[in-house]
């Protein structure tokens, strides 16, 4: 699986072509490459290498595991997901898939662009990001459901004036991600540290996709049952588990079993909505929802942490602006991951926080940070 995921990444890069005479302007002007992107085509980085081994991990007895169904299905009734495939609830693929595709399109113009991204690249990528009903619209309303809800009974309170500022943790999209992304686009359009701006956008959007999975499963219970499709769409564009896409490409490349566990958890949510098809969801079945969310939280957090782990290592292998880009990535994703890490292992999280707040190319500091990640996010 790891090799397949890696191949997928390579394929994306290869699809860009090796030429630096890409179309850097959406108006169609052919512009020349303003310089190579040092992030692309780097040799394998030893410090970033990671071989996932979770053989010692024990899964919860209530986890949904369609890959290896036990006799009692770990307490899950038989459901539509038992065949280990995603069956759409809605009539067609959710819009989340197109947002994930937009992310990939942005990648080709920014962090996977073989040329150093130009202001025109940032503008073009921003158009991908800003499409009505696209990524920007969802970043601006995304909630981090690991935090308490905004008081009151408005499930979408974060869309109201003043609420993101008052509840920045719950309203993570508008309060944390949007300012990061907007600032990065703005500075990128001014040609200020373009690789770092691209890395910040990449890191923030990866966290957005992570948040979206659990958030969509939450709203799937009371707002729109199709939102469960969206959860899978945000993770992997609803591709089969052995053909990851979007965020799943990143996870599968560094933690193939973690990817499988995330896929299991998403299928758990699908199973829950097959067992309980009522809208809103039936309180009697909330236990299955809780199980699915817990399973997802554990696996998905580890998935994001492994991405961070890799980028921490990349700091040692790159120099110049490329290193600065890795640092920017680690600062953003590390900062976003801190709350969850602290909730799992406070001491190690503090150590990790010290590094991600101010990443350095000190090998011992890098190793310590990676060790902290391994300690906190041991199993998917």
């Amino acid at each position: 699986m790891e090799s397949r995921a890696s191949l997928a990444l390579v394929g994306v890069i290869a699809s860009l072509g090796l030429s630096c005479t890409d179309d850097n302007d959406r108006t169609g002007d052919q512009t020349t490459c303003i310089g190579p992107n040092e992030l692309v085509g780097q040799p394998a980085c030893g410090a970033a290498a990671y071989q996932e081994d979770v053989s010692a991990c024990l899964h919860a007895a209530t986890d949904y595991e369609p890959r290896q169904l036990t006799a009692d299905h770990n307490g899950w009734p038989a459901c539509i997901a038992d065949d280990d495939a995603w069956h759409l609830i809605g009539a067609g693929p959710p819009a989340a898939v197109s947002r994930s595709l937009a992310f990939e399109a942005m990648a080709t113009k920014l962090w996977l662009n073989p040329c150093r991204p130009s202001p025109a690249d940032f503008l073009s990528a921003r158009d991908d990001y800003s499409t009505p009903e696209g990524l920007a619209s969802r970043v601006a309303r995304r909630q981090d459901i690991s935090y308490p809800e905004v008081p009151g009974d408005d499930k979408f309170a974060c869309g109201n004036q003043g609420i993101p500022e008052a509840y920045p943790d719950r309203c993570a999209g508008p309060a944390k991600l949007k300012p990061l992304i907007d600032a990065a686009f703005q500075r990128g359009s001014e040609a200020v540290e373009p690789l770092s701006q691209a890395a910040r956008i990449e890191a923030a959007l990866l966290w957005f996709f992570y948040l979206s999975m659990s958030s969509e499963i939450w709203t799937c219970g009371f707002n729109n049952i199709n939102d469960c499709d969206s959860a899978a769409g945000y993770y992997t564009q609803i591709t089969p588990r052995d053909a990851p896409a979007g965020l799943a490409v990143y996870v599968a490349a560094v933690g193939p079993e973690t990817h499988q566990r995330i896929y299991d958890a998403l299928l758990a949510a699908r199973c829950w909505r097959d067992i309980d098809q009522a809208m809103p969801a039936t309180p009697a079945f909330v236990g299955y929802y809780d199980r699915a969310q817990a399973q997802l939280a554990k696996a998905a957090l580890r998935g994001v942490a492994l991405i961070l782990r890799q980028r921490v290592g990349e700091i040692l292998c790159a120099g110049g602006e490329a290193r600065a880009a890795h640092v920017a990535f680690v600062e953003v994703l590390g900062g976003l991951l801190d709350h969850a890490a602290s909730g799992i292992a406070g001491g190690a999280a503090a150590s990790l926080r010290v590094f991600t707040a101010s990443p350095t190319a000190d090998p011992s500091a890098v190793a310590a940070a990676q060790a902290a990640i391994d300690t906190i996010f041991t199993c998917p």
Binding site: G90, S130, L135, A136, A140, F185, S189, I225
Partner: protein, 757 residues
Amino acid sequence: MACPSRARAPRRALLLRLGLVATLTCAWRAPAAAEESYESVVVTGPDDDPDADAGRASSSVDRRDLDRRLPRSTPDALRYEPGVFVQQSAHGQGSAYLRGLTGQQTLLLFDGIRLNNSTYRQGPNQYFFTLDAHAVRSIAVTRGGASTRWGSDALGGVIAALPLEPSTPPTGTAVSPRLFARGATADRERGLRLQLDLTTVTAAGIGIGFVGGFGARRATLLHGPPVLNPDRSTDAGALPWVPRYKEYDPTLPFDRQPTLSTQLGTGFDELTGDGRLVLQLREGERLTVAGYAYREYDAPRTDQCPPPTASYDQCLTYEEQFRHLAYVAWDGRLGAIAESARATLSWQEQHENRRLDLPAANLVGHGVDTVETWGVTLHAATVPLAVADGVAATLSYGADTYFDWVRSQARHAYTDTGDAVAESRGQYLDGATYTYGGLFTDLSLAPGDRVEIDGGARLGYAVAHARGDPASGTAPVDRRFTALVGHAGVSFAAAPPLTLLANYDYSFRAPNLDDMTARQQTGPGFQFENPRLHPERAHTFEAGGRLKTVALVADLWLFETLLVDAITKVAMSATDCPPSTPQCTGSWSRFQLQNSPSYSELRGVEAAARLRLPYRVSLRATVAYVWSEGPRQGSVAEGVYGVALGDRVPLSRTPPLHGTAEFAWTHASGVSAGGGLQWAAAQRRLAIADYTDGRIPKYGTPGFAVVHLRGAYRLDTDLVVAIVVENLLNASYRFHGSSVNGAGRGLIVHLEAGHWL
């Protein structure tokens, strides 16, 4: 030259009234309108109104109805008409449903000139709002198909506004400056109009008349109590998605919210101007040169300000919504074969400048669409011809053609960087053209005193042309449509005062440029083009009875409309989106217009009655019901609220059972009083497209009853003061499919002052 008496009109007026007879014979209107008794204006049907269609299910609103009801807009003026249901997607918009159809499936006319153009979209639109109610003399509503006379689009019916005419002076020359002022509390509306009425008539009856004016109006945020989801025990929440309220505190549970009243995404500004010059050349012949300008500014679309679940500051605003209309009309006689004839040459411009504020992306988008339409119409009617012993026949005939030229552009810019991007295409394809019209004839026979029969046919055509846009994956359009349609009807004075009527009508609507080229965010979701559509057709069967006595006038109609190849919104998958259209794949739901594989059906009943009582009191009531169904196309997930998911499903936004009641009393002193009741039952039969439409509460739209009180004082023609206490009981209400709730309790005040010099 006086207006005709209100004697029973011949059935052939079915074809002629709206654009010919009424215009010709009412070239000048009487200035002393108040001379007629107040209650006489409470009309129920065509027998009371020369503008309505005698043989069809029809009604009309005249100037004095408007002065009494004080509607907020021209569409609003139709709310008391039987079978009419007015939906509002915004405070500054309004779209009338006729027999369950609206938008491009109904036809709007102004002085016999089509307002419909090739960019009229499926579902409600705002274009009737772009007629200034001050410039309207009357509005006639004909329910049911009417393509024979009026061509494409007239499937659900025709709404025909007639303009204000110069007054007939009491002496040879007269000038009347007038001031109209208006205010309303619910939206802090303030409006003013200055009008000049000037006429000179020679002893030989030749003269020049002019009436025109200009006005301005501003309305701010509309106040009205919130409509609640009828089933609050569920997690759909107490409040429907739209509108949002200024007072809303998201951190409080609903039962602890402050009083919610101020609806966000409402308000608008308006400028109007009009001038109508009429040259009375000789008896029975006149030349009219007229121009009308309507300009609405900064009118947010309520259901998109913000859209459901979006950030509070996202908004789609019509920064400019203009209609400019100019035309020359000749009315006259050309002998027996054209005892009455009319020719018009018109130019019209419909202009929209939409602004999308998307702070989530620090982006502002602009879409600018302008449609210019040139039109020529010719029609005439013979004198009654004796075709057999005791059988008279009148033949009317004509031709019309219109040409649309569409300009459409879109661009967006980022507010933080200033980067601006011109998009490859606008909502429509720039430079697209659409030519449409036809030839028609109609024969009316009167074999005896009790029976009238008529029938007619039209050969209609439409030609659409648009260049493709490879950058957005838009295919070119080069389509031609023809249609042969017709109608037949009979009226039988069975037992006077009872008349029985029956009609069959076969009408059509050719796919227009909106259907075949537009990409747009609509209420239910993103809609993309279908260049392969073919015309939709409507078979209308209707039967009615009309009772008319001195005290009571009543109409009852039953109808059945079968839509064949109906063009409906079909829910599509993201994989069906056209290439290079991320706003389609990204949308929560997507639609494409498609011809239905089998027939769709609308059937219903409409009734209206007016009772004149002693002491100058009159009562009027209407009721209408439409039931709709069509083949299920597309799908939504199982388990969603309210949506029927059988093989056949309700059509979108079908109005519920609804009705009105009015009473009026007037005194010889000029004092009058009255009241109105509007009510609607709940509409819980939702279509698939309705489910994703933020305008429609998830459990359907609750029923309501709302009461208005009216009072007025008229001092001859010099002074009119009218007051309406709207929504006396401060009821929560919303017309099904609307984004805005009805106005809360408040006052509307109208002042009119003028003098004949």
